[in-house]
Symmetry: C2
Subunit: 364 residues, 2 copies
């Protein structure tokens, strides 16, 4: 099959950092090889730096971001546990489904898709929930929810945050904010192919975990005994499953690039390029969907102008320009485009190219 090349400006995957691609293609190592274990340990250390946490249990879960979501819930939630979920997009909806499959009593707090959650509504939804869960950066709407505000008021509840699209794109501060458990995905701002879920869990959550979760594959006690256990000292290296070594090596390399640039510089780069994209779209006469103050720089939702055919514009961009942008999802399907500016793609060149191509295709 011929090699096809795309500029991936949809909601993810994004084009990997060159370091990530190089890491992916290195000679494969065994999952118990000391040379690989050094890479794994350093990957966990780098994840701690990117998550801004000292949590010993910080590691890449061996599945995509959604496996990270499932790992968070199955290890903490059992039948009858009250889980408050903030829902203002597809991934909040997904949390409700995942929690319910663990037997949770799910208390939904809805906000309209395209609007942020109201932290006080989330905090006031139940007297004593086991867990309060919300999505930091809603990939389906381009809206940022205020995780920090919810964390400040969580009380005895555990706070669970979906950081799939936020980590390494906008500020995330696990320890500073008091987030108890969080997961991400590699294919967004981290700039690696999809396949791993960076994960972190603090001691408070660990002490309330289910000793034998319904998932064997995502049992963090067993995974931690191989990768990075709660005990801060020596890891047992007890075999659980075969680590996805090539993907871990790729993540290791991309995190190295991110930390070499500096986490705050990476945030600033996402901010600057995302805002340039949004300004350019508005200058073209297009209307942004997410409200000012809650717009994600790394994922822009823009309204499809009246009379413009959603699918045909995306098809022309893809097939003639090699540029992928995303359709809407769920309640935003057919109403907006989702334009990612994540990781390696958060650069002036990609913003300029996208704006130029879109103007040509729309005749503006």
């Amino acid at each position: 099959m011929p090699i096809v090349e795309r500029l991936l400006l949809g909601p993810g995957p994004s084009n990997p950092y060159p370091e990530a691609t190089e890491g992916l293609a290195r000679p494969l190592l065994g999952h118990l090889d000391p040379a690989f274990l050094r890479i794994l340990d350093e990957t966990c250390d780098r994840l701690r730096a990117v998550w801004r946490t000292d949590n010993p249990l910080t590691l890449p879960v061996s599945g995509t971001g959604s496996a990270g979501m499932e790992a968070a819930f199955v290890n903490l939630v059992g039948p009858g546990d009250v889980v408050v979920v903030g829902v203002n997009g597809l991934f909040g909806e997904r949390m409700c489904d995942v929690a319910a499959r663990c037997g949770a009593e799910v208390v939904r707090v809805d906000a309209p898709w395209g609007q942020p959650l109201d932290p006080s509504a989330v905090l006031g939804a139940h007297r004593s929930p086991s867990i309060i869960a919300l999505v930091h950066a809603e990939t389906s709407t381009g809206v940022r929810n205020d995780v920090h505000a919810v964390a400040r008021g969580k009380g005895d509840a555990l706070l669970l945050a979906d950081c799939v699209t936020s980590l390494a794109g906008i500020p995330v501060d696990i320890d500073g904010w008091g987030v108890d458990v969080a997961y991400s995905g590699t294919q967004k701002c981290i700039g690696v192919a999809p396949g791993l879920a960076p994960f972190t869990m603090g001691r408070r959550a660990w002490e309330r975990r289910r000793p034998k979760p319904q998932s064997w594959y995502l049992d963090l006690g067993m995974i931690g005994d191989y990768t990075a256990s709660m005990a801060s000292g020596q890891v047992a290296r007890k075999y659980h499953h075969t680590a996805p070594v090539a993907m871990v090596a790729s993540l290791h390399a991309a995190l190295g690039a991110v930390l070499d640039e500096g986490l705050e510089a990476v945030w600033a780069r996402h901010e600057a390029n995302g805002r340039a994209l949004q300004d350019g779209l508005e200058k073209m006469g297009l209307e942004l969907w997410a409200p000012a103050g809650y717009r994600l720089p790394q994922l822009t939702t823009v309204k499809i102008p009246d009379g413009v055919d959603d699918a045909s514009i995306r098809r022309v961009l893809l097939l003639e320009y090699g540029i992928e942008i995303g359709a809407g999802a769920g309640a935003s399907a057919g109403k907006v485009w989702r334009i990612g500016c994540m990781g390696h793609n958060a650069r002036p060149q990609t913003v300029s190219l996208l704006l130029a191509a879109l103007a040509e295709v729309l005749g503006r």
Copy 2:
């Protein structure tokens, strides 16, 4: 970090086929890009050829082989279901754990580690089990179990086979044998990095599946709506999770190499090289652990000679020769080495090198 290169002759991962590495490093595509969906469809077709099945629901699960195991059980097993599990190694043990977490009443049928299961004992263990499960190629012992014999006598039960180490190494014939559900891993004879679980499920199993399994991530109804649904016609391409596109491209390429060589030729190559390795070990005065007639060519277990230090021999092979072989596992720990000869490594050069290196290190 310096690049380290190894010859991976442990129980997996094995060194990928060169085509797999090339596929892994290709430019990344979006998970809904028509160019990627062609690769995905062709990957599923190639998996059908390698599994020898027409099952529409044949696809790569987005996790390692153990995620394949969990996908098989969570979609088919609920509280109180009777599951007969043949146990003669670590992965039979694991099946019991996974099934129990689904609420199954697990009926174990044990054989000593290092010996094959008795098919009639497995078939006679319960009057009317929902599922009979066994491991085809026990990676922990190097023993082949007779899946075909168990399949012939399964009656109304569903037959579930772990083919992690068998697929694309020794004959597997899903439709010919009457296996209802099976999974594998990419990092053994398929010759790809670890991270995906080739999976197949037949109509009989599909009709008895749980409509809402306890796992959202491994819900085959939802996954099939994106990847390869039970309906043989058009797939809905409904977004579930972001497919691990780089790993799928790598699997696509490796399966192409396997099918270009010819599946029967690939089996013959594993057989010839595995037997050459085993003959060579015996000529060196070493004793094979698995009994003749049930020895896997792709994974050899050989007894550690008296007075020889297990770990130090493996360390010298690894650090001086760049060759990884495996320690024993579970009941075989400290008693045997496990030597893989899988996928791209099932070649005369690797056999000769391993035999030469081992003779030098053992002073034989």
